[in-house]
């Protein structure tokens, strides 16, 4: 898929995987993708669709990292990343773990297991949500395998299922 462009190439990534649900006390995630489809409309390359989890998903083979979806997203859950770094956090929930857990099935709760696991000091919990510094990341996926919330993904679908 990389043949058409020079590496390292960038792609948009939606940092939400659509596990949002309304909790018992009425809480729900206010950070995630709301399936407004503004990104879908903004994308000149038809690279974005709303997937079966009800969230936007980017087809990296079509994406050119033009950034229009990033600008269009009212929730600011889309960012550009280096497509070759296939380990990604797909959550943007910045609420405290106890709340984030209630709001979503696959939310990052800021537990820090990924941070302790990472050999490369590439993943850190920032405002209750894991963030990968891609320059440091060795794409091993140990964080994805260890994440108790399945909030971190191998975008290739090898180490984790692609949801």
């Amino acid at each position: 898929m990389a043949a058409k462009r020079q590496v390292p190439y960038m792609s948009a990534l939606v940092a939400c995987n659509g596990g949002c649900r309304e909790g018992k006390d009425g809480q729900s995630c206010s950070y995630g993708c709301v399936a407004c489809s503004l990104c879908v409309a903004a994308c000149p390359f038809s690279a974005i669709t709303i997937n079966e989890n009800g969230v936007a998903e980017v087809d990296e083979s079509k994406c050119t990292a033009c950034g229009r979806c990033v600008e269009a997203c009212p929730q600011q859950v889309i960012h550009l990343h280096e497509a070759g770094n296939f380990i990604a956090v797909k959550c943007s929930n910045r609420d405290k773990g106890v709340d984030a857990r209630k709001q979503c099935d696959v939310s990052c709760i800021g537990c820090g297991i990924c941070e302790k696991t990472c050999t490369a000091a590439a993943i850190h919990v920032v405002e209750n949500c894991a963030v990968i510094e891609e320059k440091n990341c060795l794409s091993c996926g140990m964080c994805a395998v260890k994440c108790p919330r399945h909030a971190i993904y191998d975008l290739r679908g090898v180490l984790t299922p692609v949801r």
């Binding site: 990389a2 590496v7 050999t119 490369a120 060795l138 091993c140 180490l159």
Partner: protein, 859 residues
Amino acid sequence: MASFHVNGKLVTPSKNQKLLRFLRDELHLFSVKDGCSEGACGACTVIIEGETVKACVPDTDSLDGKNIITVEGLTDWESQVFTYAYGEAGAVQCGFCIPGMVMCTKALLDKNPNPSDEEIRYALRNNYCRCTGYVKIIAAVKLAAKIMGDGVIPAKRTEDWKMGSSVHRIDVEEKVLGYGKYPDDYVLDGMLQGAVLRSKYPRARVLSIDTSAAKALEGVVAVFTAEDIPGENKVGHLKHDQYSLIPVGGLTHYLGDGIALIAAETAEIAEKARKLIKVEYEVLTPVRNIEEAAAADAPKVFDEEKDNVCSYKHISRGNADEAIKNAKHVISHHFETPWTEHGFLEPECAVAFIDEDEDVFVYSTDQSAHQTLHECRILLGTDKIKVQNALVGGGFGGKEDMTVQHLAAMITYLTRRPVKLKLSRAESLLVHPKRHHFEMDFTMGCDENGKILGVKAKVASDTGAFMSLGGPVLERACTHAAGPYNYQNFDIEGTAYYTNNPPAGAFRGFGVTQTCFATETLLNLMADKVGITPWEIRYINAIRPGQVLPNGQIVDESTGLVETLEAIKEDYDEAVAAGKPVGIGCAMKNAGVGVGIPDTGRVKLIVEDDEKLHIYAGASCIGQGLGTVLVQIVGEETGLAADKIVYERSNTWIALDSGTTSGSRQTLITGEACMRACRELMKELNAGKTLAEVKGQVFYGEYLAKTDPLGADVPNPVSHVAYGYATQMCILDPETGKIEKMVAAHDVGKAVNPISCEGQIEGGVVMSMGFALTERYPIVDCKPVDKFGSLGLFRAHELPEIKAIVIDKPGLKVAGGAIGIGEITSIPTAPAIADAYHRYDGEERYELPLKNTPYERKW
């Protein structure tokens, strides 16, 4: 339970486990190397569903139905192509990373048959190599792609096994296909697993050790403490100050000190037992750095020492004070260089068992099997020991000391059972000696033309928890601080301090990497002051044949510093003319131990029953290619075809001690001994005998590199039999501030295998690009806090262009003129890069790693 295909065969693991463990422990697919088990190194890379995956990451239960390929599963064609390509490109050194690299190569080429250089580098970026600097691995991938496309494997560049010929190394195939054995690849019947309980505190007194619960655990065969040691507890290269196990009542010296040694049926049981050992400590204030060690009321690291001074050197010639006083230009500065971790890809491991002679037999990964033998004898108090080098997955100085070898030998000696003792990567980072942190004050005086008149310096190093080679490292740092220049007033005082940090010892460059940074940086500043270029100030001062070094030695005809300066001149002028920031550094490095210490090479040549000539040298190939060098020397001297020559890995019962792989000495010292042995053989062959007719006869060659001790009462002492010289240059991209190109010109006397020599240069340069820019080994309160993946080792996609220039200059009368190359490749790099950044942004930098560069790490 998951089932999946490995190399086409359906398999079901016995239990859920990491894929790496399953592949190695149950399927015995030993090409899948265990370099860290934490996702960093990439040595265990396999291909799952067409994608590269580090096998230490996924659990087997997550792989149901997947297709997995290891190097063992390559087709014959792929095996041949990769073996040829990696051999032809000179991409194999220690070989530990290579199967992982081969997997990356296959995964890339399967998807993209014609990858660009960028795409190749990118495909290798998650796998570390510490030997090659990636340059030749990238070339191998490119070559493999071409051959895959052509469908034909071309002839090798040369099959002429003479000196000066870039033949494929002898160990290419076993390393590319992953069947060559490192100690961890030996699995013996009834083999126990060893583990070490280490100190909880860097400095504490051990009050009691209770091993009863651990011993009672089922599957635990033995738990040993200091009182079980049959011989002497303390071992060490020179000074025996390294405790094998800390006794009750004794002080701990760092967090890596062993308290108890466990032998159990499985690694899991050994780990459980480790947690069951109860140790009472009296926790004491640790000595955390040089300043604390040197303080008047400092706590002592050793009960048995009078203070924390491990070693003191004062070297003086001429009158540096007077020369500096009368100098037109004087510059003084304080410099600091950091601790550095070797980061060899293969963690320490030893396998021991009782052999048919009732001897303790040790398979070791070390830099001298004879040193391991010597220290095992001390610990066990017996001579009934044999040591055999397995493949060694890199050393760089970090495998000169005892870490696991002696303890594995002790378990076998006491239990009579085979055992494997292997360090986890975290233990490895803690336990083996590092590159010394140095604090240095230098003053240099020059005349109005830039001629150096004198240098005066005071340096201090943190040698940590035991001496290791801290004394010689300090000495080499001091003797070489003068630089490769012609002046006669030099004074340096150096002190190495014990602290409760991890130990520091040998590391490629052996102290010179540190002081060279100071001297060369001062020289660059001096050039500005005088108003000439950094190139010119070096050309003015460069030592030339027949001149006298600041240490008093008259250098011989092989001295080629000027040639290295001239070799980079065109690149230098071009970059300067293009307005690019350019930095430069020079260095010299001894080949051979020198300074009056007996330094002997010993080689036996024996025609064995296979009617081939076997080379027995008690000298370790740690990845640099000694075996190939010796075969080429034999080829040159005897005219025998390579298939008639067999290199035997170092052992201690046939091969005689040919010294440690240290001090860039093997090519020269063992090489010359090998030549002498060849001459003995040739007497017979020239008399008309055939190899078959001299079967069983031993042809022995010995070479003593004779030198004068420091302070010898002669006007011009010979400190070393040979020096290598180098000039390296760094060119920055003026837009991005990143390194655009490194040029490294090295005078090697005679390159026995030029492509291997280039590989050494590229590897050394990239290693010291890390030293200069990215590498760190932070120690907080005596505890190293980084993991392997955050040490900041350079990665394949971060590389600039690296141009290696190998210069042959005859003049050395031994070893066919070959001077060692191993260490000097890493020495002038950091000051060259520092100078380039000075030209880039005007900021003078006196500390490594350099600050305010695009390479600085976030987090």
